[in-house]
Symmetry: C2
Subunit: 141 residues, 2 copies
């Protein structure tokens, strides 16, 4: 395994940690995962952007603390390295609904920390396959 | 101006280049902006993820070549550096509609190249201000 492959594997583990904390409503784990030193941002489905650790963590406390946060299952994640940063693209399945997410991480002292989350619903009725994308899309199934 | 500030300023210029190419339907400029060496991804509003340069560029050729692509105005961009990577959060205004975008870039031989674009509508009726976010949100106005 190359360093790059090992990095991508660790990035996927960090992504899994995010969804485990989400499903378990583990606020401490969620807070620990998000970077405390870099800028952080978060775009919940249908929301505008939250910028900065305070509103981002407050939103997670509100969501996870409500006892009504959805059971989100992460599917088909792919990890993409950019030096000491990286991002994961994945589906979020909530019952029959499918959302798509961009999760950005930063490597801080050897640990991947979340710096940005952006999730949005996939509109089934407007799903478009463009020329050349068939092979890529089928990998999502 | 620090190196970091200069980097963030250059990142905002790359982000502007994206929206200029979008509005001008300049396919050559759009193709040039997207990285040709790194993994690239793209999530158009309501779409699932396109993964890889071929489907991403094909989608832009289709959108910009249709002659019906929307006039997108970028508003309130903020740039966030992650070493030789970075991301921009911004609004996209299309007439009365407001979308929110995450644009990820990678520094390649001194030039910021786009590696990921994720845009999604902001649902005005579900807009939620969480505790602690008021100050952050007002900066979007």
């Amino acid at each position: 395994m190359t360093d790059r492959q090992a990095g991508a594997a660790a990035l996927l583990v960090a992504n899994e940690t995010f969804y485990r904390a989400f499903v378990a409503r583990d606020i401490a784990q969620m807070e620990s995962l998000w970077s405390a030193s870099a800028f952080v941002g978060c775009i919940h489905p249908g929301w505008s952007a939250l910028r900065g650790r305070e509103p981002v963590i407050a939103s997670w406390r509100s969501i996870l603390g409500s006892g009504q946060s959805p059971r989100v299952v992460c599917a088909n994640p792919t990890a993409h390295m950019l030096g000491d940063a990286g991002f994961v693209l994945c589906e979020e399945r909530v019952g029959p609904a499918v959302l798509i997410a961009t999760n950005v991480f930063s490597l801080e002292r050897g640990v991947w920390k979340m710096v940005h989350h952006h999730a949005a619903p996939v509109a089934q009725d407007t799903f478009v396959v463009v020329p050349g994308s068939e092979g890529e899309e089928s990998s999502l199934n």
